[in-house]
Structure formats: C-alpha cells, structure tokens
Subunit: 147 residues, 4 copies
C-alpha cells in the first residue's frame, strides 16, 4: 500500500501549481496584460496584446516588449519543476515588426536541463502564426522552491 | 573659400540632432522615464529609475526593463550616424539583481560598424557603479534617414 | 499532362543533393573527421569523434571543436533549400565537458525561415545521449545556389 | 621590513605567469599556430595565420577557426587572475570573410567580473585592421588555480 502523502505529484500538475503561485503576485505580467495559455513541465505558452504604450517612434512595438513576453514565458517554463530558477543570459533574434493591436504568443520549451543549468528556446508568433522573434535563454537553478 | 551649405556636420552634433528627433516621439522612453544623459557618434548614455511597475514577484526588477534600457541606449547609439538602423539580435547577460528605486545607467558603445552591419556593447550599471547587465547587439542599417 | 522538366524536386531529395555537393569539397569537415548522418530540408545531423588533436590543457575537448561541429551541421541545414546561406551570428551554451574518444552528434533544426533570415537550433550530444552544448544560429541568405 | 615571499604578485605579472603555464601544455593552440602577443590582468591578445587546413568549400576560412582564436584569447584573459575559469556561453557575430594566409589577431578584454561570473568582449581583426568578428563570452569561475 502506498502512502498518498508521499506520492510524487504529477510533473505537469506541479507545473500548473507553480505557475498559479507565480502568476498570483506577478505584477509585471498583470500590468502588461500577459495571459497564461498553457503550462506543463518544461513548457509554457503565454499571450499578450500589443497596446499603445508599447509602440515606439517608428510606429511598431518596441523590441523590449517582445523580450518581456519571451522572458516571462521562459520564467514559467524554467520554474515549472518547482526549483527556483533565474534566466542568466538571453539571446533574442528579431524577425519581423509587430504592430499595434497584434496578439503575440510566446512558447518556451526546454532544450536542455542538466545539473543547475537549463536552456530554453522561446518562439514568439503573431496572430497570423508568423514568427516575429526567436530566443535562447540560459537559466540557473538557485536554492529554494516556489510552492 | 568653403561653401557652408556643403559642410559636413560634426558627427557628434549630428548624433545629438538625431537623438533629439528620435526622443521627441519616443513614447516608450517617456513612459518608462528614460532620460538621455549623453549622445555622441556611435555612443549613447541613458538612465532610468526602477519604479514599482517594474518589480516582479521576487521583489526585484524584471529583466525586461533592464533589457528595455539597454535596447533603447543601443537604438540611440546605432542611429547616431543618421542612417536608419534596427537591432536584429541582442545577447544580454544578467549579473546582479536590481532593486526598486535604483537609478540604472546604460552606456552603448560601437564595437564594429562595417557595411550595413554594426555591433554595440551595452553596459548597465546601478547607482553604486556595479554592473548589473552587459549586452551585445547586432544591428542592421535599413533605407532612410532620421533627420 | 505534366512537364517533367518543370517538376519541383522533392525538398528532402534536393537537400541531399546540396549536401553531397557541399561535402565533396568541404576540406575542413574531412580533416576533422565529420560524417554526415542525415540531411533533410531544414535539418542536418552530423557526427565527429574527438581526437587527441582536439584536447586542450585541461585534458578535455576544446570548445571550438564542439562549435565547429555545430556550425557545420548548421551550414548543411541552412543551405539545404539550395539558396546560398551563411551563418551571421552564433550563440553557444556549453553544458558538459567532452572527453577524448567520445563520438559527438550535432543535430541542426530550422526554428525560423523568413525572407532572407533563418534561425537554427543545434543540439550536440555525446555517445551517452547527454547534451554537451546547445546553440542558436542566425543565418542570412546571399545570392547564388549550391547545385 | 616586508617579507618578499608574502608579497602579492603584480596582477599583470601573475597574468603572464598563468599564461605561460597554460600555453606550455595547450596542444590545440600549438597545432593551430596560435601565438601569444600580450597578456595582462583581464586582457589577452593572440594571433594566428589562416592555413590551408582552415579553408572551407567556399574558399574562405571556416568560422570555427575564428571562433577558436576568440575562445582561446578569452581563456587566457579570463584565467589571468589565476582562478580556474571556463567559458560557459559565447555569442559571436561574423562581420567579414577571412582569406587564406591572413594573420588574425584576437583581443579579449574584461567587460565585467563579479562574483564567480565574468564577461569578456573579444574582437578579431585581420592584417588590415578590419574587424572580422566580435564575440561576447560569459565565463564562470570554478575551484582551483592555474599556478
């Protein structure tokens, strides 16, 4: 007979619990209007609508808002194993301009997870499923858990 | 006798004129409270105070705001020659956490400028002159001028 | 009735033809002992055995040989559409040391391909299927074809 | 009276001693013909002549040899403080093709050095002083000393 209290939680269910705990006090995401679409172990998909506040002098979305969405998706994915993890370095390639009102979706997926270092690939698409940016993030586990 | 109308403007004076034109309709910088400290040919120094809006669930500044300051400094530096230039890719390394109320300063400096491609290094320091992030941006010249 | 001369070649068959043409005069790959395992449209898998020549003063494989394998896999993948394409920038994250005699395998996979810019992710594994490096390459199409 | 044996060595002299120790068993550098030009605390300048072995199918130097020179310059610079240090991630931007017979020079310079993480910028120039590549390396200190 197994003791239910000692049962390992399902990794994807754990990822959801972590994401809920993170999201509940993630003021930056709330302010930017970032919505969680799906979180699983090593994976997160988030969306954000480009508002007037995010438009630069050229009339297109400032790259740092695409970065913010990518970095946030990465944070939900890399913390999904319930080990405190920070992004140490991010390499982002911008592929297409983003216009006012577009709904961006960022998918972060685990490429590697070894020891305390993990690598995530993040793809950002617009509403027409066109890739507007691709990023590679290098993350580092630090002491502590989220839930 | 030289014809004043054909005189090449001083590169640093041109950089200032470009920066003024860019800044006058740079809504993202205004909203984030980014201030221009110094702009020269191939160089820009900008500052930003970390506000409550920029704080994430861990109680520290969300990395995307350091990125926003770095990317903006790069934009002023890479457009300083009055050729429309966009950042195509950015690699940012985060070195230290940033707290509420800190004044961040980003210095963007030209590392290379050849043909239509340029590379900029951007260093972000806090008020104690500690480096909190270093970035390398790859930029591409596109048709058009700023002023 | 279709005209056979106008038939578009199968993309994966074209990728193989391009790879054969590239490999036949790729002296660097021959000298490093790089072997082609599989090439398809937007994808390449290559392998290389770590030789004594590649060992640094710490007794492990010099990172530039892992880079060489990654960059070569990327070259075969990004040229697979028969458009001359060069890697412009590469971001590589090293995850684990590589020992003498290990057989490394690099898989390059297309993450994005839009206009003249493409992005590839390259994963390098050792013989135990452990990831030793992950890279993101940004490539640019230039005039000309391979076959 | 000071005890000479307890005197802290001059940082630049220490850097030279470390470099000599590293170079004496750096087989990869010897085989590639890499020559040390100058090493100081947080800085290294190395050179390499592009040989026939390094030429790819396009008749130009394979990017991984520019990378090898950059990575090696970084290794001498980041170990110059006599703390074992490894490059964890490198972002390299290629700016110009490199021909057979060219003498490349790589300069690695410390951009940041905080705690166990340091960042180096590496510039590679050809014999005409043209930049052919710029790289940013993120390094991590590990236990142990070189001399």
């Amino acid at each position: 007979m197994t003791d239910p209290s000692s049962t390992q939680p399902d990794p994807d269910r754990l990822a959801e619990q972590v994401a809920e705990a993170m999201f509940s006090n993630d003021r930056v995401s709330h302010r930017l209007g970032i919505k969680m679409a799906e979180v699983r172990a090593g994976y997160a998909r988030l969306s954000m609508t480009v508002t007037d506040d995010m438009i630069n002098g050229h009339g297109i979305c400032h790259g740092s808002y695409s970065f913010a969405l990518a970095d946030t998706a990465c944070a939900y994915a890399c913390n999904s194993h319930n080990e405190n993890t920070l992004s140490q370095a991010v390499n982002i390639v911008f592929l297409a301009p983003v216009a006012l009102g577009e709904i961006l979706t960022a998918e972060a997926e685990e490429s590697a997870n070894q020891g305390r270092t993990s690598v995530y690939q993040i793809k950002i698409r617009n509403g027409k499923d066109l890739l507007v940016a691709v990023a590679q993030a290098q993350c580092r586990q630090v002491p502590g858990r989220i839930v």
